[in-house]
Amino acid sequence: MWYAMLIACIPLVLLIFSQVWLRYVFHLPLLWVEEVAIVPAFWMYMMGAAYATFERSHIKVDIVGITVHSPKRRLIIRFISALITLGLAMLFLQWGYQFFVWDLKMNPQTSSLRFPIVYARCSFFFAAGILGGFYFWIETVDLARQLFWGKVPLFTRKEM
């Protein structure tokens, strides 16, 4: 997953950079760059989102960690929030699937290259939906283990 993000990032930077380069040095504007760039861009966005779930580094409001001092209570609240998030992630998966099916059926294309947009958009379902959803399952199960069976966390988050 880490490498996938890297593979998406580098061509993205190079594409945009070469667009400037070609325009000024060779006076050759590349119009198709915008249409190709969306594929690595979308995959990077969605892989990034899925990786954030794996790392548990989604943007969160950490008011519970500040105001609730009892570890047991904190764990209970975290478990409830994980359950809600999991539910939403499953809904997300359903939306992603419907969207993917819709895209396959309609097969929208970009305006000048006639390039199927589904290559970019399916990342919403595959990367963010399936992968992200999978890691939310792991997080919830991990919290449940800690809460009900007193097990140690499977995964400790690295501090910055």
């Binding site: 880490w2 993000m5 890297l6 998406a8 990032c9 580098i10 993205l12 930077v13 945009i16 950079f17 667009q19 400037v20 000024y24 915008e34 760039a37 969306i38 861009a41 979308f42 990077m44 966005y45 969605m46 892989m47 990034g48 989102a49 899925a50 990786y51 954030a52 790392e55 580094s57 989604h58 943007i59 969160k60 409001v61 950490d62 008011i63 519970v64 500040i66 105001t67 609240i77 975290r78 409830i80 929030s81 809600i84 998030t85 939403l88 992630a89 809904l91 997300f92 939306w95 419907q98 969207f99 819709w102 929208p108 947009i117 958009r121 919403f124 963010a128 501090e159 910055m160």
Partner: protein
């Protein structure tokens, strides 16, 4: 087209906001809290999500959004690539010899880093390890140093390029370059006020060492040396801002060029960047981007659904019932934004407030670009205000000091520094609109 729910007008939006903020407080990740708010509206008003998503994705194709990951990555490279060090050294040569000079260095360096990286957290992360130990060596308390850094980090989102401004421009269909310029006036004002407050706070502190003043020539020489050593770092804002406002490249292209430049400088000139670090920086920063983009998707759909249900109009009608006064409405917006900033971080706050308040602001006659500056300063103040204060806690972690030690100096800066800036920015539109009008008359609708 009905905003009333169970016969109560505007009930839908209140339940929706309650769901959003309640879930955020419970610790649900921000993108999913937005998604929950969206699914509530979708089910209540009977929309088809799959019919709404393509519009959001269609908008996401825009290259403007790509500026977001690039600037976030640039922040990562600044910290590792040795670019931030040189900026601090240059700021030190400029103002370091005054009493309380190092405090000013921290403020000015935040502004310079802000001119490259564009987020509060990037400014804190890049400078925390550099400025705080140095200030401690010269006799400042660690709490004071970290507190100052935390409150100054708001400059990261005021001085262009700024990531929250990209988000704002993207969501509300405004020119991102004009939004960037809106932050400059308030940003410079913040720098000046913070330097003055800093001077008064350390004036009577005898523990702080001040290097003896040197003659003008020696000082000039020192600045010259720092300028020479930091030349490649200082070129960075020049490339970025000069490129964007000189019309050479778009915002996204400028970010890509600066990114390649930062890598080349870090690898071959300063040599503090290792080839194997690059992958790590790319990957970490794309995680941040991924989370923000996921939020952007839901916010795009959410604001579309809200507009289709006439919810903003309902809100305007409701607020006009309370007051028609321009200033009172703005004061309410101030309070709301600061409270919002206290709970959520700058990205989430911008994404939440921009679509919600934008129609109201244009209705009472606030210029869209002026609202960008209002949003930036207000959320920036909220972000360092306890209890949640995301940036304050980040600074505490990086500066390795407990929050209670830094809270007192930070509060002084907030009350004497940030609050006046917020009020001035809100009630004096020219402060933020002067530069955009001067440099981009056509975009601003002024006959040039």
């Amino acid at each position: 087209m009905e905003t009333a729910l169970f016969g109560v007008p505007n009930l839908g939006i209140f339940i929706d906001l309650a769901i959003l903020i309640g879930l955020l407080l419970l610790g649900v990740p921000a993108p999913f809290a937005f998604m929950a708010a969206l699914s509530f509206l979708v089910y209540v008003y009977g929309f088809e999500v799959t019919a709404q998503l393509p519009t959001a994705f269609h908008k996401m194709k825009s290259l403007t959004l790509l500026a977001l990951p690039f600037f976030i990555m640039l922040g990562g490279f600044m910290t590792v690539g040795g670019i931030a060090d040189r900026l601090v050294a240059f700021a030190d040569a400029l103002v370091g010899r005054f009493r309380g000079g190092l405090g000013m260095v921290a403020v000015v360096a935040c502004a310079m880093v802000g001119a490259i990286a564009g987020t509060c957290s990037a400014a804190v992360a890049a400078l925390g390890g550099l400025v705080v130990p140095e200030m401690e060596k010269q006799g400042y308390s660690r709490g004071y140093a970290t507190g100052l850094l935390a409150v100054s980090s708001v400059l990261g989102q005021l001085i262009p390029p700024s990531v929250p401004m990209i988000l704002y421009g993207f969501i509300t269909y405004q020119s991102v370059t004009a939004c960037f310029l809106a932050g400059v006036g308030p940003g410079i004002l913040t720098v000046i006020i913070y330097c003055i407050v800093n001077y008064f706070m350390v004036r009577n502190n005898t523990e702080i060492k001040v290097l003896p003043p040197i003659g003008v020539r020696a000082q000039t020489k020192q600045v010259g040396v720092a300028l020479y050593k930091g030349f490649f770092s200082l070129m960075m804002p020049v490339i970025l801002l000069g490129g964007i406002y000189g019309g050479i490249f778009t915002c996204t292209e400028a970010a890509a060029v600066a990114l390649v430049y930062a890598i080349v400088v870090g690898l071959f000139i300063y040599r503090s960047l290792k080839l194997r670090d690059i992958g790590g920086i790319f990957a970490t920063q794309s995680v941040t981007t991924g989370v923000v983009v996921l939020m952007v998707i839901f916010v795009l759909v959410l604001s579309r659904v809200m507009t289709m249900q006439n919810i903003p109009q309902g809100m305007i009608a409701m607020i006009s019932e309370v007051t028609e006064n321009y200033y009172v409405t703005l004061l309410m917006v101030n309070l709301f934004l600061i409270l919002l900033g206290m709970i959520v971080d700058d990205f989430t706050g911008t994404l939440l407030a921009a679509p919600l308040l934008f129609p109201l602001m244009t209705h009472i006659g606030v210029h869209p670009i002026h609202f960008a500056a209002i949003l930036g300063t207000n959320l920036g103040l909220g972000n360092v205000t306890p209890p949640t204060a995301p940036i304050l806690y980040l600074a505490a972690r990086i500066g390795n000091v407990s929050v209670d030690k830094m809270i007192k100096p930070a509060l002084v800066f907030m009350v004497c520094g940030a609050l006046p800036v917020v009020l001035v920015t809100t009630y004096w539109p020219d402060l933020s609109l002067f530069l955009p009008r001067l440099l981009m008359p056509r975009v601003m609708g002024v006959a040039g």
